[in-house]
């Protein structure tokens, strides 16, 4: 796992230097929240939908994060060298997933804050743990799915259209689970905290499944530049 951390550190260092997350992805994510409000045009409706909208925005933003993660590799054909030098492809997968995870968690914090500010959502003290756990598990799941499919399409011509098609259906359970759990954390009538934790369990299962499957499948799916 040492090599995975080397890769993760490299990705995060690049992100720190280029500030893509801060300058491009975060504004986009917040913009999505604003656009939802504009499109739905009803404050009570937006408040009820807040949890789902947060995770929708997360889903879309995760595409940007993943695309960026692989753009830095394909720009100068660094991916080839990385696959060769790292030895096992799984190490590269873990490394990039960790880096994506860190970025996605930051985005999640931002978006939840956005929902609180823009939509009027509230989180009681007793639900904070639920909220944080949801953000962590869902972000891990998203990071692994995105990294896996992002790698698969990285060197293809059609990558920008193929990534959403492949990754979004797979991420659907994440969307469902994270939205319901966050809804519970925001204090909904229909879902109590206990149900929220049940959804978190689903998210955890999802994360475990896709981190493992991703490690196994990454080597076959990632394609070097041709």
């Amino acid at each position: 796992m040492r090599r995975a951390f080397v890769v993760a550190k490299k990705d995060l260092m690049i992100e720190w230097r280029s500030r893509m997350l801060l300058v491009r992805v975060a504004p986009f994510a917040l913009l999505v929240l604003v656009l939802f409000a504009v499109a739905l045009d009803s404050e009570p409706l937006i408040l009820r939908a807040a949890a789902g909208l947060v995770w929708l925005a997360m889903l879309f933003s995760s595409l940007l994060v993943v695309q960026r993660a692989f753009a830095i590799e394909t720009d100068d054909a660094a991916l080839d060298g990385l696959l060769i030098a790292a030895g096992e492809p799984a190490q590269v997968f873990f490394g990039k997933t960790i880096a994506a995870f860190v970025q996605l968690v930051s985005l999640a914090v931002l978006l939840v804050a956005g929902a609180i500010v823009l939509y009027g959502a509230t989180v009681s003290a007793s639900n904070i743990v639920l909220l944080v756990t949801t953000m962590l598990t869902a972000s891990l799941g998203l990071a692994s799915v995105g990294t896996l499919y992002g790698a698969a399409v990285a060197n293809m011509n059609s990558k920008d259209s193929l990534l959403p098609l492949l990754a979004m259906p797979v991420a659907a359970p994440l969307l469902i689970g994270a939205s319901r759990a966050t809804e519970a954390a925001f204090g909904s009538q229909t879902i109590d905290a206990a149900a929220g934790w049940a959804w978190v369990a689903l998210l955890a299962v999802f994360a475990v499944v896709f981190v493992s499957a991703g490690a196994a499948a990454f080597g076959t799916l990632v394609e070097a530049e041709s």
Binding site: S158, I176, T220
Partner: protein, 261 residues
């Protein structure tokens, strides 16, 4: 190095097409059975007390749903074999691809018929019940799978990548289904939100339904057999095309090296 792409997987295809005795028999049986089902569905079976004539869509919808899931399972299993086995990798992969193509077709039909049925029975085109919703996800996932299949030109590489994508789908679909089931259970709906849940099925209706499932399965098999044979022929053409390309390239080499570089 023997290339499994050169010979079709099963049966002997004639040079005229991909039909064999087996497919002709299956095709005939499918045709006959489907004819019976059509007749029975439209004329012989009674209308439902509650739903009226619209219950007849069930005879199409249920079998297509069944075949859609069958195709998914077949693609999953053959993909697994394609990865695990040393021999006939390409053969398994071709069946996986053919099954996915036919499956996507039947999934679309399931969604359309289910949608129509819902519209006729309850006035809405769509219900978020687990079966329809999961089928929708299955459909989109397989469209993605087919897109990935079209990327690679090398059959071996294509086989491995698509097999991995298919197996990932096997992981994903139960998760999706489970999530949707949990999700809908929040809404305290009737436990079986399918139109066919409240249809009372008597002898002939049941038999027609069963016959429909068998008929559509036969159609599925017939389509897959033809499709994978077509794929085998296409792969064989790539191989012979490759032989010719190699020969041409070596000839070019011989002629240029004589002149020096």
């Amino acid at each position: 190095m023997t290339n499994a792409a050169a010979t079709p997987v099963s049966g002997t295809a004639t040079s005229k097409g991909t039909a064999t005795t087996a497919t002709r028999l299956i095709g005939a049986a499918a045709l006959a059975l489907t004819a019976f089902v059509v007749v029975s569905a439209f004329w012989l079976t009674p209308a439902d007390a509650v739903q009226g004539e619209s219950v007849r869509i069930m005879y199409v919808h249920v079998p297509t749903a069944w075949v859609a899931y069958l195709a998914f399972v077949v693609t999953a299993i053959t993909s697994g074999f394609s990865l695990a086995r040393r021999h006939r990798t390409l053969g398994f992969d071709r069946v996986a691809g053919a099954s996915a193509e036919v499956g996507v077709l039947f999934m679309a039909m399931t969604l359309v018929t289910g949608s129509l049925w819902g519209r006729l029975t309850w006035g809405t085109f769509w219900q978020w019940d687990p079966r329809l919703t999961t089928t929708l996800f299955l459909f989109v996932t397989y469209v993605g799978y087919l897109a990935v299949r079209n990327i690679d030109t090398d059959p071996q590489r294509r086989a491995r990548r698509s097999a991995v994508i298919a197996l990932l789908a096997v992981l994903e679909i139960p998760l999706v289904h489970f999530s949707v089931v949990l999700w809908r259970s929040l809404h305290q709906e009737a436990s079986v939100l399918n139109p066919d849940g409240d249809v009372r099925l008597d002898g002939l209706m049941l038999f027609t339904l069963f016959a429909g499932v068998v008929a559509f399965s036969l159609i599925y098999v017939w389509l897959v057999l033809h499709r994978q044979r077509l794929a085998a022929l296409a792969d064989a053409r790539i191989t012979t095309g490759l032989d010719a390309a190699i020969a041409a390239r070596r000839a070019e080499a011989a002629s240029t090296s004589g002149a020096g570089a």
